[in-house]
Structures are given as structure tokens and as C-alpha cells.
């Protein structure tokens, strides 16, 4: 009987994700973040640049893009190339496949998104600073929620990257800055809310409190994973789920 997280699927997913060319992108993104942070540390004079830059660049570019690339490839790439058939032609529960793919994506995003964000915070304000700790907490939360959403998109559509980009740019970027209610369904705002609950910095521009961010984050994660498992249970060849 397979457990909830399947070790074989997890190992294959790690190897497959790290072996693809797009892995270069999620290695380059954090390197860019660290390089710019070091440059700003050496040149910037404004005291609010660390939360301004890391809150904006970290949570609207580095983390969501890393999560998008990883979250859509752990399941979506196998659906695209058909290799998922070898995995699904076994008695492993579809819910177990989805949870395992999600865990793989979330841990890799934490490694290539949340940890570099913490390191950037440490470079900017010191390793024990509240900002660095907040960025780590917010980054880990974002890695979890974003990947639940992107794994769902992979199970639901063959255009997961395009739909994910639309969500990030239009929903979070455009509508999130114009309409207050949209922030309740914005992963970016959950991450900033959690970061701000540790760092307490106005310059982060967080609009949600810790409780709201946590509750909404948990709800979105659970609903997205449940829908993804349901979708994969109805997986049909050619990538359609009827």
C-alpha cells in the first residue's frame, strides 16, 4: 500500500526537474537576486531599500517565477511528453501522485526561492534580522501555496505556464493593486502578510494580517490539491481530463 507521499515518485520527480534545461532559470533567478542585493548594499543610501526591494522583487518576481517554472514542470512536463502513463499505469493513488509532486515542487521552490530570499535579507540587514526571518517565513509560505495552485493548473490544462503567468501578471500584479478584495485571493499578499508579521515594516506594503494570510493560504492550498487529485483521477490520454 502506497503512503501519502511516494518515495519513488519523489526521487524520480527531483531527478526529472533538476535535469531539464529550465532548471537553469530557477538557478539564475536567485543568483540575480543575490547579486542585485549585494550591489544595492554597497551603493544604496536609503534605509528602506531592503524591504522595498526584497518585498517587491522577491515576492513579485523571484519567488512566483521560480514556483511557476517548478510547479508546472513536476507534473505538467510528464503529462506533455506522455511519460506520466508509466507512473499512472500502477496502483499508486492519484492523490498520492499529486501530493508527492506538490511536495517536490514546494521543497525545490523553498530551496531556490525562499532560501535565497533569506540570504538576500541577511546580506541586506544581517543574518539575525527580523527582515531576513520574515522573508524566510513568507518565502516558505509562498512556496507552498503557489505550488499547490500551479500543480492544479498542470493537471487541469496543457497551457499551465500561460495561465499561471496570466494569474501572476493580471490578477496579482494589476487587479491586486487596484481592487482590495482581490488581495484575499493573492498568494503574493499572503506571503507579504506573513513576512510583515515577523518584520513589522511598512515598506513591505503588506495588506493582509497574519491570521487572514494563514487561513486563506491553508484554504487555497487544500482546495487546489483536492481539485488537482480529482482532475488526475480522471486523467485521459492526450492530456485531456474529461
Amino acid at each position: 500500500m502506497s503512503g501519502v507521499i511516494n518515495g519513488v515518485v519523489l526521487r524520480i520527480t527531483y531527478r526529472a526537474t533538476m535535469g531539464r534545461r529550465r532548471a537553469l532559470i530557477f538557478i539564475i533567478c536567485p543568483l540575480l537576486l543575490l547579486a542585485i542585493t549585494a550591489l544595492l548594499k554597497a551603493t544604496a543610501h536609503s534605509p528602506v531599500w531592503p524591504p522595498e526591494f526584497l518585498g517587491t522583487f522577491g515576492f513579485t518576481v523571484v519567488l512566483p517565477l521560480t514556483a511557476l517554472i517548478i510547479g508546472t514542470s513536476v507534473l505538467g512536463a510528464e503529462i506533455d511528453d506522455g511519460s506520466i502513463l508509466h507512473l499512472l499505469a500502477t496502483p499508486v493513488r492519484r492523490s498520492s501522485v499529486v501530493l508527492t509532486k506538490f511536495v517536490a515542487a514546494a521543497t525545490l521552490t523553498a530551496l531556490f526561492g525562499a532560501v535565497p530570499l533569506y540570504l538576500a535579507g541577511a546580506i541586506a540587514t544581517g543574518p539575525g534580522s527580523k527582515l531576513a526571518g520574515g522573508l524566510l517565513a513568507g518565502g516558505l509560505a509562498a512556496a507552498v501555496v503557489y505550488n499547490a495552485v500551479f500543480v492544479l493548473l498542470s493537471a487541469a490544462t496543457t497551457r499551465a505556464i500561460a495561465v499561471g503567468l496570466l494569474y501572476l501578471v493580471v490578477w496579482e500584479g494589476l487587479l491586486g493593486s487596484l481592487i482590495g478584495g482581490v488581495r484575499l485571493l493573492s498568494v503574493n499578499q499572503y506571503a507579504l502578510g506573513i513576512t510583515n508579521s515577523v518584520a513589522h515594516l511598512h515598506a513591505l506594503h503588506a495588506h493582509l494580517g497574519l491570521t487572514t494570510a494563514l487561513i486563506m493560504g491553508v484554504i487555497v492550498t487544500c482546495v487546489a490539491l483536492a481539485l488537482a487529485a480529482r482532475r488526475l483521477a480522471s486523467f485521459s490520454v492526450k492530456g485531456d481530463a474529461s
Binding site: M1, S2, N6, G7, V8, V9, I12, R15, A16, G19, D81, G82, S83, L85, H86, L87, L88, A89, T90, P91, V92, R93, R94, A233, S234, F235, S236, V237, S242
Partner: protein, 304 residues
């Protein structure tokens, strides 16, 4: 209870396109070939049997259970998909071993070793799948499908990419698995593959079951169908007059490109045409069977 695959009035459509149309068949132990031209609906049927497509209408059971949304079925079913995509970064050994573990086998290493041995991939099992030829990929996919010793094995175009020696080996392997009482169902668009391997066939044409049963009976029906030949000679009109008097010839049409001859008996016509030409001092320049494609054979079966 005997393990069988049962399709009862099964149809599958995509929007307005009907891929499989009202198919009823029962597949029991032994080797069964699913024969039909490309695009006939063979893969759709295999995908429905393996639970990767839901029938739009009708009943489909495998060993008495519905296959759709039933991954537990893979405890007794092995699938070799047509698509070549496997985890190319794994070695053959890692791939089959991972599959054994996904099946939760008690001794996955032993099961993987045995399955790899069955398909004669022991020497190459340590190499990455990305370095394999198409034939080697087919065989390692078969090893993964066999690793849990399934009662039912579905193979979608298993001979694609195999060289003649590998084909013979695959045929003998499938034959021995069928002799052991397993249900082996494979699809193919190549008549000779099915002929050599399978006593029972299901012929699918245009999504419909065109013929079903013993291969030899269906083969006779295929070879005794009317054949159309294109004949060019030094005197087409004279040859046409001579040909129409022969019982093996049903019709002759004089066309600008030569004679189009409809023969009722392939063997008699091909023996007689040369003798007739010589008898009337006509030189034969070209004699071409013009309807030998599998599609025309299958279309005839459908109409018969």
C-alpha cells in the same frame, strides 16, 4: 473465474468525431491481435481498456471491474504504451525497479531482474534509457509492464522499431505468455505481425468492429476479395476483349492510362494474364495491383 476483457456496445467520441463506434467484443486468455489501419480506433480501444479514457457510451469491464478511475486494476494489468516517452534519464534497471516499487512488490529487485531477463535487456540495463534504440525502449517498456506478473497485458503497436530478430523474440515471448493463460491484447496495423502471432483477431476499421474471430478464416476472406489491376500493353483493346472472356475476370475498363481489370480470383488472374497476352501476341508493359493497401483490404472487410 476466467479473466476476460468485455466491451459491450462501447463507443467513444470527441465532439462530433466518432473514434470508436458501438464495439462489442470479448477477449479471453491467449494472444489476440487488434488489427486495423492507422487511425482506425485501436489505440482508443486500448486506452479505454486500460482506464485512460472513459467510454462515451456502453459497458467496459476488465476481470469484471470497470477500468475507468480504477487504478487498482493495474495490480493485474500491464500496459505498454505506443508513445516512446519514458524517463530517459533513468537506466533501464532503475526504470523497471522503480515500476516494481510503485507496484509495492515484496522483492522489487528480484522482480525487476526477472522482467529484464525476460526481454533480454540484461546487458544494457545499466545504461541510461536516453542511449537506447527504439527497439530497446520497446523492450524495457515491456519489462516494466511485466514486472508485477500481470494476468492481462495490453500492448499498443509493440513491434514498432524492432529489428527482425527482436520481432521474432517479442513474438515468441508474447506467445509463451499467452500459452501460460494470460490475456494478451496487442494492436498492429501490419497484417503479417498479426498473422504470425495471433490465432484470434479483432479487425477495427473506421472505429467499428469489421471482423472478429479466427485469423485464418478472416485471412481467406481478405485474399478472396475482388482485386483491381492496372494493365498496360501494346494493344489494350485486344487484350481487354481476351480478358473479359475469362471466368477469373469480372470487369474490364479501357482507360487512357491502360486497362483497369477487376479480377474475382487473384491467383487465377495473375496466372492467366501472361498466357493470354502471349496467345494474342500482345506485349505486357505493366501489371500493377492498384488496391493492395491495407485500407482497401479493411474497407472490403467492412463492406462484406
Amino acid at each position: 473465474m476466467t479473466t476476460t476483457i468485455e466491451l459491450s456496445n462501447v463507443s467513444r467520441w470527441y465532439g462530433n468525431v466518432v473514434a470508436v463506434n458501438d464495439v462489442t467484443m470479448t477477449i479471453g486468455p491467449g494472444v489476440t491481435g487488434l488489427l486495423g489501419p492507422n487511425g482506425a480506433g485501436k489505440s482508443t480501444i486500448l486506452h479505454m481498456i486500460s482506464g485512460f479514457l472513459a467510454p462515451s457510451r456502453g459497458q467496459l469491464t476488465v476481470a469484471g471491474q470497470p477500468s475507468w478511475r480504477n487504478p487498482d486494476l493495474f495490480r493485474i494489468l500491464g500496459l505498454v504504451p505506443e508513445r516512446d516517452s519514458v524517463y530517459a534519464f533513468l537506466t533501464g534497471q532503475e526504470f523497471v525497479l522503480a515500476t516494481a516499487r510503485l507496484h509495492g512488490l515484496a522483492d522489487p529487485a528480484a522482480a525487476a531482474g526477472q522482467a529484464i531477463g525476460l526481454v533480454e535487456m540484461g546487458d544494457a540495463a545499466g545504461r541510461r534509457i536516453s542511449t537506447y534504440s527504439k527497439g530497446m525502449r520497446q523492450r524495457i517498456k515491456l519489462a516494466a509492464a511485466l514486472v508485477h506478473d500481470p494476468e492481462i497485458i495490453l500492448l499498443d503497436e509493440p513491434f514498432n522499431g524492432l529489428d527482425p530478430r527482436q520481432r521474432l523474440h517479442m513474438m515468441s515471448l508474447l506467445d509463451s505468455l499467452g500459452t501460460q493463460g494470460r490475456v494478451i491484447l496487442f494492436s498492429s496495423h501490419i497484417l503479417e505481425e498479426v498473422e504470425r502471432l495471433s490465432g484470434t483477431i479483432q479487425v477495427i476499421v473506421g472505429g467499428r468492429l469489421a471482423a472478429s474471430g479466427d485469423f485464418r478464416a478472416i485471412r481467406r476472406l481478405m485474399t478472396s476479395r475482388p482485386h483491381v489491376f492496372l494493365v498496360r500493353s501494346s494493344d489494350d483493346r485486344l487484350l481487354a476483349a481476351a480478358l473479359i472472356g475469362r471466368p477469373s475476370v469480372n470487369a474490364v475498363e479501357l482507360t487512357p492510362g491502360g486497362l483497369q481489370v477487376r479480377a474475382g480470383d487473384y491467383g487465377s488472374f495473375t496466372r492467366e494474364v501472361a498466357a493470354l497476352a502471349r496467345q494474342h501476341a500482345v506485349s505486357l508493359r505493366e501489371l500493377l495491383p492498384s488496391d493492395e493497401s491495407l485500407e482497401s483490404v479493411f474497407a472490403y472487410l467492412l463492406a462484406a
